[in-house]
């Protein structure tokens, strides 16, 4: 009887696994297809892939570690300014190298910030992240000699990608660059969340007391995840600078933190695609609603979010979980045969 049950579970999960791969391949193929079909929209698609990466970085933190941040733009903005400075002063000219270095340093900044954020209750964390982003914003605003202040950082020249491909005005190279980075970082994120480290992070999210009672050094693990998330956000910021050759204070604005959270909530947390799906929905909703009522698009986005949350039971968390469930083909039934 038991072996029969096991067998049933194993085959079910194997087919679920095959299906999952199928859907995932379809997802990425659709992106490539869209890029090929709409060459005139590449600048918009660059924008979407960058905010998608940014939302992915928040998903690592919120969806997996359960840490809510209302100031994630701090790391996005830090990355954007750092990439700008690296290019402007010719410190690291080659964009890929500059992007990787930016990610590394953003991660270290995230590690330092995590010691401030990871204490107290959820509310404390939210307020500390919010405060950090405000502090970063004001620093960038004041250090005019370094950042250009309110005028933004201008005169940035981005060298050819890998010394070979010049960034063009239509965003063709830029989009290819952003999509490759997004895809690779997605693969890394998938690897991380399926690893022993990723499982221990999920365990901490579910029950920190028990996690420490089985020997998980919870604080250290959360710090590492925070740093990873900050590194991803920093890379997203670097991509923005490199594809637009410009940095403005808006990279650190509160609205950016709020928008990315909104995107992630729209797409669903904790299954990695939420940020990507959410970014697309958000941007499309944005342009659609803005074409109908240019001034009040945020009203409709907000109303949409409220509707989702209310329709899906009381708490945002369970709302997200159940939305995520729908998009997650394999679901919880991922048997042990995987």
């Amino acid at each position: 009887m038991i072996s029969f049950l096991r067998h049933g579970i194993a085959t079910a999960s194997e087919s679920a696994k095959r299906h999952r791969w199928f859907y995932e391949a379809l997802f990425w193929a659709a992106i490539v297809l869209a890029a090929l079909l709409f060459p005139s929209q590449h600048l918009l698609m660059i924008e979407i892939s960058i905010i998608a990466l940014f939302a992915l970085s928040l998903d690592l933190l919120l969806g997996y570690a359960g840490v809510v941040s209302l100031g994630h733009a701090a790391f996005f903005g830090f990355g954007a300014y750092l990439a700008g400075l690296l290019a402007l002063h010719g410190i690291v000219r080659e964009p890929v190298l500059a992007m990787l270095l930016t990610g590394l340093i953003s991660g270290l900044i995230g590690l330092a910030a995590s010691t401030l954020v990871l204490r107290g209750s959820d509310l404390t964390k939210i307020m500390v992240t919010l405060g950090l982003a405000l502090v970063f914003y004001e620093i960038a605003n004041r250090l005019t000699w370094l950042t250009g202040g309110a005028d933004g950082m201008t005169g940035i020249e981005i060298a050819p990608l890998l010394g070979l491909f010049e960034f063009d005005f239509f965003g063709h190279i830029g989009l290819a660059y952003c999509l490759v980075v997004l895809f690779l970082l997605f693969i890394v994120a998938r690897c991380v969340v399926d690893s022993p480290f990723g499982w221990s992070i999920k365990a901490i999210r579910d029950n920190p007391t028990r996690a420490s009672a089985i020997g998980v050094p919870t604080h250290r693990r959360l710090m590492a995840m925070f740093a990873l998330s900050a590194a991803y956000a920093g890379i997203a910021g670097a991509l923005l600078t490199q594809t637009t050759s410009f940095v403005s204070l808006s990279v650190l604005h509160f609205e950016r933190s709020a928008d990315v959270l909104l995107m992630l909530l729209l797409g669903g947390t904790g299954y990695l695609y939420g940020g990507l799906v959410g970014a697309v929905i958000f941007k499309l909703l944005h342009s659609w609603i803005a074409s109908l009522t240019p001034e009040y698009w945020q009203f409709w986005i907000g109303a949409f979010l409220v509707a989702i949350v209310l329709l899906r039971r009381a708490s945002i968390r369970s709302a997200l979980a159940s939305i995520g469930e729908r998009f997650r083909p394999a679901g919880h039934a991922q048997g042990r045969a995987r």
Binding site: D194, P196, K202, I214
Partner: protein, 248 residues
Amino acid sequence: MTAALETRRLAKHFGGIIATNDVSLTVKHGARHALIGPNGAGKTTLINLLTGVLAPSQGSIHLEGKDITGIGRAARVKLGLARTFQVNSLFAEFTPFETLTMTIGERLGIGSQWWRKLRGRPEIEKEAEDLLETFHLVDVGDRPTKSMAYGKQRLLEIAIAFACKPKVMLLDEPAAGVPESESAEIFQALAALPPDVTVLLIEHDMHLVFRFADRITVMVNGAVFAQGAPDQIARDPRVRAVYLGEDA
């Protein structure tokens, strides 16, 4: 031979309240040592001191002769001190199989590895399957923990602690709240723990205590009140008066 677990003059004050008062406790290797006492006797505080949730005001704790008083929670587990919880404290979204593979991975020191999947490691999955077998969890092994019956969750509590391969297990009322019909499975699971694992059992259920324990410590008002073999304790008139008397 050093004791498996020992406290020396352990004390914990909360302001003016003395929750643990000068407790010197010796748990021998391989013992089935029960800790009993009326509500408010300080059993939970003692568990929290032993596991590092609370820092003692005075005294010291020794695991196999090593002073662990100043060591953190996770590090104590690595040294071989695991616990269960009186109120189920599990990973609701995980299946028991996932919970156990994660726990085993942590014990093997690969918990910070991020570049390789946790799944598909035969040595870990084999051990997890064996644990499911030992603790009567095979048929629910792939279900989310939150959907499991209460009794099964109690079993998973013990299985998780055991998956840490502890030298000393602290069982905090393992049968608490379990209906009569399901308690047999818990008793079996406890009886099946290997003899070289030392067990400190905190329990209200006298039936379980006298069946399982080979030594009993009675705590009253934060202090050790009596200690001895089960029949000795059962006969002790002072114990009967302050403790058993309440129930009898």
